[in-house]
């Protein structure tokens, strides 16, 4: 069972990363429950219990708004990410909910080909299991570094 949960979450997370990296940003909010929390913060803030993040949403609608804003309003140089995810570590499972932690490594590719390590860190997740699928109730993206180069447009 534990193995099944780990592979289910690995599969869902692979699809999550794929939607961002392949430019299907519109699908990204669908990985979350309607009532959800998504936050991008730093390891420094997280370890000190400081609440504010780079991005904060407490509803799927706020994630939809971020996608709309990125597509229609915000100005930034065209770029893509490539996510590399570690194996999910299943912290606990309680009924239909699973807490897990997964390392990520994100490379940013600018339109001129410049390719840099953009962010590393870990996802602190709470998933709701739904049959053969799982949706995020909470994803706290804890970036190892407190430095963000230029700007953060695409989600992590």
């Amino acid at each position: 069972m534990a193995q099944d949960v780990a592979s289910l979450i690995a599969q869902v997370q692979a699809a999550y990363a794929r939607s961002i990296d392949n430019g299907d940003l519109g699908a990204w909010p669908d990985f979350f429950e309607e009532q959800c929390t998504y936050k991008i913060t730093t390891a420094d803030n997280h370890s000190q219990g400081l609440e504010a993040g780079i991005v904060f949403a407490n509803s799927r609608a706020m994630l939809v708004d971020r996608v709309t804003s990125l597509r229609e309003a915000n100005v930034y140089e065209r770029h893509t990410y490539r996510h590399f995810l570690g194996q999910p570590w299943i912290q606990s499972q309680d009924g239909g909910q699973v807490r897990s932690e997964t390392s990520f490594f994100v490379v940013r590719i600018m339109r001129d080909g410049t390719t840099d390590i953009y962010a590393t860190g870990r996802y602190l997740d709470l998933y709701a299991l739904q049959g053969s699928s799982a949706k995020l109730i909470e994803r706290i993206v804890v970036c190892d570094s407190s430095r963000f180069d230029t700007l953060l447009a695409l989600p992590l």
Partner: protein, 419 residues
């Protein structure tokens, strides 16, 4: 030898400002290493006040925080007398950093290299093996610890903002800020207990002055930042303006809700259909709370050379600008709440924090636009920027369609740099 000295050989000699006035800004200012070196001496270590940290970050005796004034790493501490002190984070022995951690609590500071030790005011109080071992080695008898130490900074505080200066001749902070700026800092912070909600650094791919120009440039706001326009969140009924202090170096840009016009606009809106297809799916982001006695919803305030205090609705933050060479800048954001925030108010601050920072709906563009300029001017050091919107002066104005505060920056810059 002296007869050979010329502008080309003298490292302290800067190129001349190309023409009188403030409406043409030469691009070599953003590229030249000599300019950068002169800025370190004349601005960051000159007779000006630079932001160090929040007093709330060092509340207790022994608390310290490391920060930066230009290239110089600086330690801010609170000693047993309750006062704040600041000194260079540079061992007087061989120059190593004294404190490696960004913050902490310490009785004293000991350099890891040879254990030279400093008290919380930056005085040298210990030198390892000073008297040698078994009568051999050690410092000469003439060595006097009082003669050695990192440079100390003057420290001044206003509303919990801590500023420092390397200069002994700097005017008092209140005088530096003047009547135009001090009260508008107090408007946001006075009588309140700030708490840090979070911090992050945005690494900007451009010279620090391009960011300061951007902060002071009220002309670009509605053009580059389209979030409010796209979601039709602009209010026709806004009034605002800019304030430029007499030195030119400090500014305030603000907008406020005009209550009567708001009422009229609400009536008018009944019959107007929107042209934009976009609406926020979750508009709670902008359902802020009444925090100030006035109707000002946005106040961007800068203190020359490198400090910004912002209020964007209920998002309060300070921005410290740290140059990292001619082509790189660190923008250190500290988000602020207040001790008496209700949980609802705190949640609103967290939500509205989406407006600012590297991922900010109304600020992410500022992270890249300086880089666009830096790259655009790469082969054009002898060309000049045109800064003429709103005329040639650097005075306060009711219109924000002006570059007056950008010209103000250059006015203060030229005065401080002797350019």
């Amino acid at each position: 030898m002296q007869s050979q000295a010329s502008a080309g050989h003298n490292p302290t000699e800067l190129r001349a400002w190309p023409e009188p006035g403030l409406t043409r800004v030469p691009y070599w200012l953003f590229q030249d290493r000599q300019v950068y070196a002169a800025e370190q001496r004349r601005l960051f270590q000159g007779p000006l006040w630079n932001f160090l940290c929040l007093a709330a970050e060092v509340p207790n005796v022994g608390d310290f925080r490391t920060t930066a004034v230009g290239d110089a790493s600086v330690i801010v501490t609170r000693d047993a007398d309750g006062e704040l002190y600041a000194f260079e984070n540079r061992c007087a022995h061989r120059g190593a950093l004294i404190a490696l951690e960004p913050r902490g609590n310490a009785k004293d500071f000991s350099c890891v290299y040879h254990a030279w030790t400093y008290d919380r005011q930056g005085n040298l109080i210990g030198v390892a093996f000073k008297d040698g071992v078994k009568g051999k080695g050690g410092m000469p008898p003439s060595f006097c610890m009082q003669d050695h130490g990192p440079r100390k900074l003057r420290v001044a505080e206003l509303c919990g903002l801590v500023f420092g200066s390397f200069s002994d001749t700097v005017p008092p902070l209140e005088e530096h800020l003047g009547e135009a700026i001090g009260p508008r800092i107090e408007r946001v912070l006075a009588g309140r207990k700030p708490v840090v909600l979070g911090r992050y650094t945005q690494a900007l791919p451009n010279n620090w002055k391009l960011y300061m120009e951007n902060v002071k440039d009220s002309y670009h706001a509605s053009i580059l930042h389209l979030f409010f326009t796209t979601f039709e969140l602009n209010r026709l009924s806004q009034r605002g303006g800019i304030i430029v202090d007499p030195s030119g170096g400090h500014h305030v840009s603000f907008s406020a809700i005009d209550a009567q016009a708001e009422k009229d606009a609400e009536y008018a809106k009944q019959s107007i259909r929107s042209e934009s297809a976009y609406r926020l799916a979750d508009p709670s982001l902008l359902q802020g709370f009444k925090e100030f006695a006035d109707d000002i919803t946005l106040q961007i305030l800068s203190v020359f050379p490198t400090f910004v205090l912002q209020q964007i609705q209920n998002t309060i933050a300070v921005r410290q600008i740290v140059p990292r060479g001619t082509h790189r800048t660190d923008l250190n954001w500290t988000l602020i709440g207040f001790a008496d925030d209700t949980p609802e108010q705190r949640l609103m601050r967290l939500k509205q924090a989406n407006l600012i920072g590297p991922a900010g709906y109304v600020s992410m563009e500022d992270g890249c636009v300086g880089g666009f300029v830096q790259r655009g001017i790469a082969g054009a050091g002898d060309e000049r920027a045109v800064v003429e919107m709103g005329g040639s002066g650097a005075e306060s104005s009711e219109s924000r369609v002006t570059e007056a505060s950008v010209r103000g920056f250059w006015k203060a810059y030229r005065a401080s740099m002797g350019l």
